[in-house]
């Protein structure tokens, strides 16, 4: 493509540098680094296997599975086969880094080959950022591998492992690649009047300051404990303690294949969808209704009353529900008998329960969600209504064309938020209303209740519980990323992030 055409296509008339030795250096480094990670190239060698296996007290049967050297992606296999849980977490984190490295390098390389097309429309900053991430991760990976080897040798008190040449090559190459990419990025920035992180901090330091407490909180409360995700891949025992228990790969996930997982998944998703949709519709409906009531007294009292079920704990709800639906003396059957109708056997008939559960969910949650919509309605400027009034719009039209559209952003945010938890259930609701009544499971069993039952019958099954949680998280994560992506395409304002 000629320079003239490019100028023409570029509306702003800026031209990114697409041919410079630094670009080739960065891209070349990325390709080489990616090649070095190919699972046949050994990163970690066993220096003196016999002595090492002796220290590890391995049996001949275990030794048979082991190799003399390991590529970066399969060292966990060594950890698993040799039952050296002490190396597990470190190797696991290296594996995650390796995966991230591969992704960023590949991404950067793809952008590199289409750089001219991109440069015609926008900046190449995206490509540089991918390259830098890739280089950074490569560097971390190599340094981490050296660290692991040092740690292992120290732990076993002998020179058991040593690093292969790719580790050192990666270390040097990634540093070089990073610097050359950085140099190019700086030029590109000036060209596009974009600024980097440091400049952003300088400009908006107050905003960063605002974020400090939030950062500290989530670090302590969420991000640091996330190391626990690793437990999904271990078989916990006290002797080895948490971080040195044997690494068992995907063994804890096996129960997901064993059970009626499809059935549980559909149950969970269906219930959640009904809860989200019906819940929000009713909450909006009643919020609008309350906002329309002129009588202050009715307005306040009804709102308080609708909120009250939120305070009824599930433990008590369980007793109330049982008293209603019990076969012999329950309220409903009492009533049916008194009007000459046959009794209903609720606790042995699964088909009633989706209705009962949904009903009680809505009953308990309308008031809570309604508050959000009420507050949003309260925030709507009265000018809109006054203008509509002048135009002769009646109440229905005002609701239809003013109130409801203005509730939409709130609704979408709540919806998106709820979707991330699509595989997580209202555990207390199901558990307290149904209990362990197996007859009803076909329509009432959700993922959470299932996992709860499994983990309570298996003491020390920490890995199992974590694995189940991880499955739910991944599922929710995919759903939310997809939804957010599509919403962002249609209207970025409504997106969650």
């Amino acid at each position: 493509m000629s320079v003239a055409v490019m100028r023409q296509n570029n509306p702003i008339g800026r031209r990114s540098v697409t041919e410079h030795r630094n670009i080739y250096l960065a891209a070349g480094a990325a390709i080489l680094l990616l090649l070095l990670m190919i699972p046949v190239i050994p990163w970690i060698h066993l220096t003196n296997p016999d002595a090492l296996f002796d220290v590890m007290k391995l049996k001949a049967s275990a030794i048979k599975k082991l190799q003399a050297s390991y590529p970066v992606f399969t060292f966990l296999a060594f950890v698993q086969d040799s039952k050296q849980g002490i190396l597990g977490l470190w190797s696991f984190i290296l594996l995650l880094i390796a995966a991230a490295t591969a992704v960023f390098h590949a991404w950067g390389i793809i952008l590199f080959f289409s750089r001219k097309k991109i440069a015609a429309k926008k900046s190449l900053l995206g490509m540089y950022s991918r390259f830098q991430c890739g280089m950074l991760f490569s560097f971390l990976l190599a340094a981490g591998t050296l660290g692991l080897i040092f740690f292992a040798n120290h732990h076993y008190g002998m020179q058991g492992f040593h690093a292969g040449f790719p580790v050192y090559v990666t270390l040097a190459l990634s540093a070089a690649g990073y610097l050359s990419s950085k140099a190019m990025e700086r030029k590109e920035r000036i060209l596009w009047h974009e600024h980097g992180f440091i400049e952003e901090v300088r400009r908006n330091w107050i905003l960063f300051l605002f974020l400090v407490p939030c950062f500290v909180f989530f670090m302590i409360n969420n991000y640091l404990p996330m190391v626990g995700i690793y437990f999904a891949f271990t078989q916990f025992n006290f002797r080895d303690s948490l971080f040195a228990s044997p690494y068992v790969g995907f063994k804890n996930f096996e129960f997901l294949l064993h059970s009626e997982i499809l059935h549980l998944t559909t149950n969970t998703i269906l219930y959640n969808l009904v809860f989200i949709v019906a819940g929000n519709i009713l909450q909006i409906f009643f919020a609008v209704l309350i906002s329309q009531v002129a009588n202050k007294y009715l307005k306040k009292v009804s709102q308080t009353m609708i909120f009250m079920p939120y305070f009824v704990s599930y433990v008590i709800l369980r007793v109330l529900v049982f008293n209603m639906f019990e076969y012999d003396v329950g309220l409903i059957n009492h009533f049916l008998t008194s009007i000459g109708r046959p009794k209903l056997d609720f606790y042995n008939t699964p088909s009633y329960w989706p209705w009962i559960i949904t009903l009680f969910y809505l009953w308990k949650n309308i008031g809570y969600g309604m508050v959000v919509y009420l507050a949003t309605i309260t925030g709507i400027s009265s000018e809109y209504y006054e203008a509509a009034e002048i135009d002769g719009a009646n109440i229905y039209q005002q609701i239809r064309y003013i109130t409801v559209p203005l509730l939409k952003p709130t609704f979408i945010i709540l919806l998106l938020y709820a979707l991330g938890g699509i595989m997580k259930g209202q555990f207390e609701l199901f558990y307290q209303l149904v209990g362990n009544n197996g007859t009803l499971f076909s329509t009432t069993d959700i993922f959470d209740t299932y996992v709860y039952r499994i983990t309570t019958t298996q003491p020390l099954s920490m890995g199992l519980g974590t694995a189940a949680g991880l499955f739910q998280s991944l599922f929710g994560f995919i759903v939310i990323m997809l939804t957010n992506f599509f919403i962002k395409r249609k209207n970025p304002e409504y997106a969650l992030f």
Partner: protein, 506 residues
Amino acid sequence: MKKLLSIVLALVLCLSMLSAASAADDMTEEANLVFYVMGDAPKDEVAVEDAINAILKEKFNTTIDFQFSTWTDFNLKYNNTLISAGADLIYVANWENYGLNATSGAFLEMDDLLDTYGAELKELCGENMLNMCRVNGELYCIPNLWPEYVCLGIKYREDLRAKYDLPYPTTLENIEAYLKGIKEADPAQGLLRPTNTESASSLIIGFDTAYLLADKYPWVAPFGMPYGLTANYDTPADVYDYWFSDDFVEDCKMFKSWADQGFWSKSALSDTNDNEAYDNGLAVAEIAGMNPNKQITSANNFAKEHPEWESAYLTYGETTGVIYPGHATQNGTAILRTSKYPERCMMVLNYIMTDETMNRLVQCGIEGKHYELDENGFYVNLDDSFPYEGFNTWNLRVNDFKLKQATDVTLQAMFDKYAELGNKTKWPNVNIWDGFTEDYTDYTAERAAVGNVMRQYLAPLQAGLVSDVDAAVAEFRTKVTDAGLEACREGFQEQWADYCAEYNYQ
């Protein structure tokens, strides 16, 4: 950044756990031991602790701090305490998975410590008791030293039985006759309030009626063993299949006929079962988890609220002839592997369990302030803020020092009767089943699946809430086989055979 920090965190956690001192204890440094026990703290915790510590400080340069699980999520918190190295001494029990935790390495091996710092205690326990606490040959806990019987049985209304001239509910036939008789005489009277039953430790999942099996079969474990296997008490190594036997079908049919006769509600599987039905006259018998102490509680309640009612109790062992005391690991004390002061732990434990004054101080508080002895030598509480066994340290009971309460007379009489019966069995007064710990690491997924099938298909069968027993049994058998029953059975049988061989139960 995030990952780096997690590595740092991991290291910090590892280090904090591995930092247990290994050097010999020279006693010059004051040791503050945490003693983790179950339940809620007594109000006067501090006063009694101070009194205890005044002595311990002087003798061992040590203090102890009792910390309580509370009764909310206690299993969870118990585990957390073990994982986080949150205690030095800890209450252990078979229902708190003593065997599993010990196998997994939560507790310290005690033999050497006991020899060096607890010679008196060792002698007091005796080899026999200590052996029962061994897991894979290693000693991980000191048992409590008060022999008790927590056998299962039926609690029923003796006044109604006499009034309608019904048979004593000794056998299943008689229980049926008893219930039927009351139903005929007084159709409005509620009979039983059973619900589902679950216990994690040996995969007991089903309906309360499963307790009645102990009234029919002379099994080594009251519910049979896990996975539908079972063996008789006299021949424990001789394992046979229950779920696939005709007996099983027959029993299910009997339960169905009971359900059809309206012995319990059709909604029983979701019953909120608050255990108060019997005490308030809404049920005429209780069949699940009834042991001598529960009978005493009910009898006392009746005496207070309904003097015209009379509660009586029959243990199933009286029918089958299989009767044995609670296992040594029912209540015990262990030292955490992570404790910094294992020697001091043992010294203190030795002292509390061999010194009469100290033991009474721990169990009953300060004499004259919290309790006194009446003219018959019975314990009388003076102050609610430290009740009898206020620290819930059932693990520190020692027969010779244990103060008797007035209600203990009846209880002791029952125990004496059972001890006599227990002596006549093939293994006199030996609790075989509760000493066994199953390690199901290799078939966790299958075990979980089997448990789930039991909940879904076995519980309704045992509750008699199926329309066609034969079809439901067939379905249960198919489902449970599909869930991986064979893998579980194989793994279990192998371990059980080893256990029987080790203790020579042939």
